[in-house]
C-alpha cells in the first residue's frame, strides 16, 4: 500500500479516537457557567486592582451574578457608568454612588515638621513604622517613604520631593483604596469628591495632646475644638484631641477653615477668598 495512504489512515484514525475522547469528556465533565458572568466581566474595566474587595474583575462578576444584586458591590474604578452597564446586563437598577477620591491627611512636610532623626533603613513605611515615630517626631504623621505610591496601580500618586509628602492626582484616582490599605498609619482616607471637586478636611491624624502635637509639627490639629463650635451643621466631631469633618454632613461653608489656629483644615478647589485673614495662634487654646 502507498505509505502516504497509510500515514493518512493511521493519523486520521488517531485523530478520530482522540476527538471521540475529547467529545466524551466534554459532555461528561461540562462546567455549567452562567453566561452572564462573561457578559458582566466584559463591562468591567479589567484593572484587577482589588478595589471592590475581590481578587480580580472576574471574581467580582461572579459575586454579582451569584448574589443577583448589586448591594454592597461597587466597582470604584468604573464608577457609576460601569455600575449602570452591569445593572443593565443583570436586569437590575444600579444605585448611584457619590464619586470618591483618596485624601492624604498630613501636612508634615520638611518645612512644617523638621526632621530630627535620619532613617537609613529599607525604604518602606511599614518597616519604619515598626521602628520609630518618624523623622519629624510625630507618631501618627506621614513617614514619606512611599508605600502608598508603590501600591497605586493607576499612576495617581507621587512623592513630592519638596515636601516629602505623597500627592494624589485627582483625575487619575479611582478610589480603589489600595493606598488606604498600604498606609501603616491610616493617614489616607477615601472621601466624597464633592461638588466641582470642592472638599474641606482636617489634614492631620495626630491624636496627641495639643502642646505635644504642636512641638513636632506646626500644622498639627491641636484639638482646640474651635472648628466644632464654628460649624453650623454639626459636621465636625472631636475625639482623642483630633477633629474630624464628616463629609456626608459638611455643607462646604468654609467657616471652620478660618477658625483653625494651626491651618490644619484644608479647603481644596475653592475660589480664592476675597479677604485673606492671617490665622492667629492663640497659645491659650492649646490643650495642655
Amino acid at each position: 500500500m502507498d505509505p502516504i495512504l497509510i500515514a493518512v489512515i493511521v493519523l486520521g484514525g488517531v485523530a478520530l479516537v482522540f476527538a471521540a475522547i475529547i467529545f466524551g469528556v466534554e459532555k461528561k465533565f461540562i462546567v455549567v457557567e452562567d453566561p452572564r458572568i462573561d457578559l458582566v466581566t466584559e463591562k468591567l474595566p479589567g484593572a484587577n486592582c482589588g478595589g471592590c474587595g475581590f481578587a480580580g474583575c472576574r471574581n467580582f462578576a461572579e459575586a454579582i451574578v451569584k448574589n443577583e444584586s448589586l448591594d454592597g458591590l461597587f466597582c470604584p474604578v468604573g464608577g457609576n457608568t460601569t455600575s449602570a452597564e452591569v445593572a443593565k446586563v443583570m436586569g437590575l437598577v444600579a444605585e448611584e454612588k457619590v464619586p470618591q477620591v483618596a485624601v492624604v491627611r498630613c501636612q508634615g512636610s520638611f518645612a512644617n515638621s523638621p526632621a530630627k532623626t535620619v532613617f537609613e533603613g529599607v525604604s518602606s513605611c511599614a518597616y519604619a513604622h515598626m521602628l520609630y515615630s518618624g523623622p519629624g517626631g510625630c507618631p501618627n504623621g506621614c513617614l514619606g517613604l512611599g508605600d502608598c505610591v508603590a501600591s497605586c496601580a493607576f499612576d495617581a500618586m507621587y512623592l513630592d520631593k519638596e515636601t516629602g509628602l505623597p500627592v494624589v492626582l485627582e483625575d487619575n484616582c479611582v478610589a480603589c483604596g489600595a493606598c488606604v490599605k498600604a498606609c501603616p498609619r491610616s493617614i489616607i482616607e477615601l472621601r466624597d469628591k464633592g461638588p466641582k471637586s470642592k472638599r474641606i478636611y482636617v489634614s492631620c491624624v495626630n491624636t496627641e495632646k495639643g502642646a505635644l502635637a504642636k512641638k513636632n509639627c506646626v500644622v498639627a490639629c491641636i484639638g482646640c475644638g474651635k472648628c466644632v463650635k464654628a460649624c453650623p451643621h454639626d459636621a465636625i466631631t472631636l475625639e482623642n484631641n483630633l477633629a474630624y469633618i464628616h463629609f456626608d454632613k459638611c455643607k462646604l461653608c468654609r467657616k471652620c477653615v478660618i477658625e483653625c489656629p494651626t491651618e490644619a483644615i484644608l479647603e481644596i478647589n475653592f475660589p480664592a477668598r476675597k479677604v485673606v485673614e492671617a490665622p492667629k495662634i492663640n497659645e491659650e487654646n492649646i490643650t495642655q
Binding site: 530630627k116 532623626t117 518597616y127 520609630y132 515615630s133 517626631g137 505635644l212
Partner: protein, 443 residues
C-alpha cells in the same frame, strides 16, 4: 576543642573596651522616668497617683495579666506626674515621673551587702517572690521570669542553663557581674534550681572572658550541681536555641520553647536579680549598663536605677565624643538606634553604644551575587538572600514558606553580606507582614 553550636555564626570584632572597668554606682538624678512597658507582653498598670509619696522599692505599677511584670519605684520621693515619654521604641509610652527626695527604702528590704546563702523560701514562695519583684529577663528580651519558672504540665525541666555568653561585641555588663558578684549569682542560680526542681545547672561563658570562667569555676565547687562551661567565641551564641545546642547538643524545634527539650534558660543578670529578690526581698529597681564605644573617653559599667535618663550615663562616661553617628540601645549587632538621649534606662537596657560616623554609615548596596555567605552564617539554617528578596518584592507567600518567622534577627547575614544588602531590614519586614497574615488567618 571547646563547645559551640554547629550551624552558622560569625565572629565580629569583640571591642570589649569596658571589660576592666569596675561597676560604678550612679546616684539617681532628681527626676526619674519609670516606663510602664518595661517587659515583653502587656504593659503594667499604674497604682499610684500624682502627688503620692513613694519609698524606694515600693510597688508603683502592677502587671495584671499572666505575661506582664510589676514595676517598683527606683527612688523615694513623690510622684510628679503620670504622663507619656519617648522610650527606646521611638514612640511615646506611659511613664511615671518620680521626684527624688532622700533615699528611704520600703519595709522588709535587706540593703546590706552580706551574702545570704541559706535558701529559706519554698519552691512556690520563690516563684511568688520573683513575680512580686517584677523580674524580667535582663539579657534584653525582658520576658517575665516568673512565667519561665512555671513549667507547664506534662513537661519536666532537666537543666537550668545560665546564659553568661554575652556574645554581643562591646557589651561587658554580664562579664563584670560575674567577676564582682560571683557568689550572689551562684546563690541566685541555686534559688532558680530550687524553683525549677532541677539538679543540674550549666553556666555557659564564651572563652573571651577567661577571668570570669576561672573565677566562677573556682567558686562553683562550693555550690553543688553547678557546672561552668567555657564556649568557643561565636556570635550569636547568646541566643537561647544556639546556647542549648552548644551546651547540651539538643535542638529546640521550630516555633517551640526550650522547655520542649527540658531546658530553662536564664541570663546571668537575671540570676543576680533573683538572688536579691528572694534572699534580700529587694525588687528589681537597678541593673548594670555598659556605656561604651570606640571614641568614648571612659568606657564604663554602671549600676543604675531603672528610670535614669541615658543622658546622665553618657555624661558620666565622659560625654558624647565628636563624630558620633549613632547612639545605640544594646549591642552593635541587635541594638537599635535611639532618637534622643532623654530616653530612660529600662529593665532591658544592657548597654549604650556610641557608634562613630564611620561605623554607623551604611555601606553601598549592590545586587545579590548569590555567593551564599548569608546562608552559611545563618544560625537558624534559613536562606536570608531569598527572604531579603521576598521582602523587597513584597512576596509574603515566599516569606512564609521560607520560614521567615524562625529568624532570630541576629543580623549575621547582613554583617557578612559582601554586597551590603539590607537583608535583616527586609527579613524584619517579612516577619511583620507574615505575622499579621498568620494572626488574621487564625482569627
Amino acid at each position: 576543642m571547646l563547645k559551640t553550636f554547629k550551624m552558622g555564626g560569625v565572629h565580629p570584632e569583640e571591642n570589649k573596651f569596658a571589660e576592666n572597668s569596675r561597676i560604678e554606682t550612679i546616684d539617681a538624678p532628681e527626676l526619674m522616668y519609670v516606663m510602664l512597658n518595661q517587659n515583653l507582653g502587656a504593659p503594667s498598670v499604674a497604682i499610684v497617683k500624682k502627688g503620692d509619696t513613694v519609698k524606694t522599692g515600693q510597688l508603683i505599677a502592677k502587671g495584671e495579666v499572666f505575661i506582664s511584670a510589676n514595676v517598683h519605684s527606683p527612688v523615694s520621693g513623690t510622684v510628679e506626674k503620670i504622663d507619656s515619654w519617648t522610650d527606646a521604641s521611638g514612640y511615646r509610652k506611659p511613664v511615671i515621673i518620680i521626684k527624688k527626695e532622700g533615699d528611704v527604702w520600703d519595709d522588709g528590704i535587706d540593703t546590706s551587702d552580706s551574702l545570704v546563702k541559706e535558701i529559706s523560701a519554698s519552691k512556690e514562695e520563690i516563684v511568688e517572690l520573683v513575680k512580686a519583684s517584677g523580674i524580667v529577663g535582663l539579657g534584653g528580651a525582658t520576658f517575665p521570669t516568673h512565667v519561665k519558672l512555671m513549667v507547664p504540665q506534662g513537661k519536666k525541666a532537666e537543666y537550668l542553663i545560665i546564659n553568661a555568653v554575652e556574645c554581643e561585641p562591646y557589651l561587658t555588663a554580664d562579664h563584670r557581674v560575674m567577676l564582682e558578684k560571683g557568689h550572689e549569682v551562684m546563690v541566685g542560680i541555686q534559688v532558680l534550681m530550687k524553683a525549677l526542681d532541677v539538679s543540674k545547672a550549666l553556666v555557659g561563658i564564651e572563652n573571651n572572658k577567661p577571668e570570669a570562667i576561672s573565677h566562677l569555676t573556682k567558686i562553683a565547687s562550693s555550690y553543688p550541681g553547678i557546672t561552668v562551661q567555657g564556649l568557643k567565641v561565636k556570635y550569636p551564641q547568646g541566643a537561647e536555641k544556639q546556647l542549648i545546642k552548644a551546651l547540651i547538643n539538643r535542638e529546640v524545634p521550630s516555633g517551640k520553647l526550650p522547655i520542649e527539650v527540658g531546658c530553662v534558660v536564664q541570663n546571668v543578670g537575671t540570676a543576680l536579680a533573683v538572688y536579691e529578690a528572694v534572699q534580700k526581698r529587694k525588687p528589681l529597681i537597678e541593673r548594670v549598663v555598659t556605656v561604651t564605644g570606640k571614641n568614648v573617653k571612659k568606657p564604663s559599667n554602671f549600676m543604675v536605677r531603672v528610670g535614669t535618663p541615658i543622658s546622665l550615663l553618657l555624661e558620666k562616661a565622659g560625654g558624647i565624643p565628636d563624630g558620633t553617628g549613632k547612639i545605640v540601645n544594646g549591642g552593635p549587632m541587635m541594638g537599635k538606634a535611639i532618637p534622643n538621649t532623654d530616653i530612660p534606662v529600662t529593665k532591658g537596657t544592657s548597654g549604650i553604644l556610641l557608634m562613630t560616623n564611620k561605623e554607623a554609615a551604611r555601606v553601598k548596596e549592590y545586587n545579590c551575587i548569590r555567593c551564599g555567605r548569608c546562608t552559611t552564617v545563618c544560625p537558624m539554617g534559613l536562606e536570608p538572600f531569598l527572604l531579603g528578596l521576598a521582602g523587597e518584592n513584597l512576596n509574603w507567600e515566599i516569606a512564609e514558606k521560607e520560614r521567615s518567622m524562625d529568624c532570630i534577627e541576629c543580623g549575621s547575614c547582613q554583617y557578612t553580606c559582601p554586597s551590603g544588602r539590607p537583608l535583616l531590614d527586609n527579613i524584619r519586614l517579612c516577619k511583620l507582614k507574615v505575622g499579621q497574615i498568620i494572626r488574621n488567618r487564625n482569627k
